[in-house]
């Protein structure tokens, strides 16, 4: 169970810095898939980094199973939004994926197996011995995802993980998330800008308001399981949730960029 209690985070100077998150509280239950949506720059990445223990809150408390998060906790892995810079350019793709597994002291064959399986799962079979910079953007992003999956964390935080992928691959990987959850009982926090995705994947949706981020709304999603790319998306309930999310985003996005998009260059 992942809990945030009136967490706030200010970057830079205590007085003048950017207040990215303020007084944010919510709880994520074991085994849930929670999606997070919100306008660009509202603080989603900041929240994920707070949960992952990469940033220390300037106020409030983050905890996992009641234990304060002071550094990156055991059970959590994060797939970075900035995927390109989170891959090690001196390691081949397979080594990039295998590197975090070192501390798990798995057998050599188990490591190879995990790497193969996840590479296959993200559609990159046979590319293990490329270097990251020999791959396209979307392929790099999938390597980062594969690394997160191969690590088999209890809680997986994903920051716009499918942003650079085509529709089909994206759909496949969405279903992969369900599959992984089913297999390992993993908890997933998933930031996305794709409204359909945010509804399709979610047990609940956190809709973030404009910066400093607060929870605008927490939507519980009760769509029939197992979900299906075609059927689920045709349900009236899906459409209803979809439009709620869309309305919310629209409003807070307008607030964020005061004066917003209007003048031509």
């Amino acid at each position: 169970m992942l809990t945030l209690e009136s967490v706030s985070k200010r970057y830079g100077d205590p007085g003048t810095g950017t207040l990215a998150v303020e007084d944010l509280s919510f709880t994520i239950e074991e085994g849930q898939i929670v999606t997070m949506v919100g306008p660009s720059g509202c603080g989603k990445t900041t929240v994920l980094k707070l949960m992952a223990g990469l940033l220390r809150p300037t106020g409030g408390r983050v905890s996992v199973d009641g234990v304060d998060v002071t550094g990156p906790p055991e059970q959590i892995a994060l797939v970075f939004q900035d995927y390109a810079n989170s891959l090690y350019p001196w390691m081949r793709v397979a080594d990039n994926i295998a590197f975090p597994l070192r501390r798990l002291r798995l057998s050599r064959s188990e490591v190879v197996a995990r790497v193969e399986r996840t590479l296959q799962a993200v559609g990159l079979r046979g590319l293990g011995d490329r270097y990251p910079w020999q791959l396209s953007g979307g392929m790099q992003q999938r390597v980062a995802i594969a690394r997160g999956l191969a690590y088999q964390p209890r809680i997986l935080l994903m920051d716009e993980p499918f942003g650079a992928l085509d529709a089909q691959t994206r759909a496949d990987l969405e279903d992969l998330v369900f599959q992984v959850r089913k297999e390992f009982g993993i908890t997933v926090v998933f930031v996305t800008h794709d409204i359909d995705e945010s509804v399709y994947l979610a047990d609940s949706i956190l809709i973030m308001g404009p910066r400093p981020t607060f929870i605008d709304e927490k939507l519980m999603v009760h769509l029939p399981e197992p979900r299906d790319q075609l059927e689920t998306k045709q349900l009236p309930e899906f459409a209803r949730l979809r439009s709620i999310v869309w309305r919310n985003i629209k409003e807070s996005s307008l607030i964020m960029s005061t004066g917003a998009v209007q003048a031509a260059p």
């Binding site: 990469l54 990156p72 994060l78 810079n85 590197f99 070192r102």
Partner: protein, 259 residues
């Protein structure tokens, strides 16, 4: 231009320029008639007499051994200490002024100290080489570590990479382009210090030879020694470039798009 033709151009440039320079030196030394710059052909003759190969075992070998040991120590200590200081902020702050002080002590002033503390044998010479070569490596390691892409560090923290793996496989690797710059800077310093260290209490070595030649105004001999140093520098650099190609292949190729 095809890549093979381009390569041919590069190789010929690398051969042509030194030849041009040698030709210029040849003309200059013969025209100038300066005692201190004897005709280049005399230097070549001296080179042949001294270094092909009569003094190779007696002078070049002991010098090279000291140089390599000293340089190896400098690399190990420089990278190790650089890592430590790069990682441990308070230590860096405390050690900073001491490091800066030691760096600024000129080797001629260092001499009395080494004689007292270490003595006058080979150890002292090796120590002197290591002492001077360590700084560029240390500074570059430190700065390289400090400049690592923050996302990489975050990645390691999130995946709780063990400290040792993080140090060896990430910090060191990520900083290695800059570490190699430091080693490359230090390489000729090792040769220079090899010479300087042999100016005191020596009975053999290239540096000893050069100093003796200079003292006895055998200028052709002296320049033949300098010539040897230059060739040594070029060759060592070649070896170094090979090692670097292996270690930094990923870096060179991933940055190759720069034209």
């Amino acid at each position: 231009m095809t890549s093979s033709r381009r390569n041919a151009l590069y190789v010929s440039a690398e051969i042509a320029t030194p030849l041009l320079v040698v030709a210029a030196i040849f003309v200059f030394t013969n025209a100038a008639g300066s005692f201190y710059f004897p005709p280049f052909q005399d230097v070549l003759v001296a080179f042949q007499q001294n270094w092909l190969f009569s003094r190779v075992m007696s002078d070049v070998a002991p010098s090279l051994v000291r140089l390599l040991i000293g340089f190896a120590i400098a690399i190990v200590v420089g990278v190790g200490l650089g890592l430590l200081l790069g990682k441990v902020a308070w230590l860096r702050r405390q050690a900073g002024p001491v490091v800066e002080f030691l760096r600024a002590v000129p080797p001629p002033a260092l001499l009395p100290f080494t004689i007292i503390a270490i003595g006058v044998d080979s150890t002292a010479k090796v120590a002197l080489i290591a002492f001077v070569c360590v700084w560029p490596i240390l500074l570059n390691t430190m700065d390289g570590i400090a400049g690592i892409e923050p996302t990489l560090r975050s990645t390691d923290r999130v995946y709780r990479i063990r400290a040792w793996d993080h140090l060896v496989h990430v910090e060191l690797r990520a900083a290695s382009p800059q570490i190699f710059a430091g080693i490359r800077t230090a390489l000729p310093l090792a040769i220079i210090l090899m010479v300087i260290s042999e100016m005191v209490a020596s009975t053999n070595g290239v540096g000893y030879f050069i100093v003796q030649a200079q003292r006895s105004f055998a200028l052709a001999d002296m320049w033949s020694g300098i010539l040897l140093l230059g060739i040594l520098g070029y060759l060592l650099n070649l070896v170094f470039t090979g090692v670097e190609r292996l270690a930094l292949g990923w870096h060179l190729r991933s940055h190759a798009a720069v034209s």
